[in-house]
Symmetry: C2
Subunit: 82 residues, 2 copies
């Protein structure tokens, strides 16, 4: 909900063409999707348009030991329609 | 990894035009993204093409108590290029 409000404020202040990009990696990917869905259901409805959803992989330094870890990422670009 | 192998088998047996659809909801959304990324990195590389990524919300019956829960969903459609 906090992220959804922050995204809403961004959409209401910035140029509409730019929109808002929400990025997350690992287990937070679910939170990124939740944020967009809350933004749609509670605040903007059909005014919110998903422009693009990209997924990818980021190589992260090892948490312990020597092995690098591959972590999935998501990037959701949304705009507010007039 | 198990899901990635299953998806690979689907892509290798079905008509390429149909591709494979991976759906998940709630915390498993991360697993859906991981599955596609493993499929890309370990098996198919650039042959794997993401056709569409859809996100949405599903209303689930309450786990306990009376309140329904809104759960985010993801649907990733991928095809294997020739």
């Amino acid at each position: 909900m906090v992220y959804a409000v922050a995204a809403l404020m961004t959409l209401n202040t910035s140029a509409a063409a730019e929109g808002v990009t929400i990025k997350a990696r690992g287990r937070s990917i679910t939170t990124a999707v939740d944020t967009i869905e809350i933004l749609k259901r509670r605040f903007l409805g059909r005014q919110l348009q998903i422009k693009e959803i990209k997924i990818g992989t980021e190589v992260m330094p090892p948490r312990e030991g020597l092995r690098e870890r591959n972590v999935s990422t998501i990037e959701i670009i949304a705009v507010k329609a007039e």
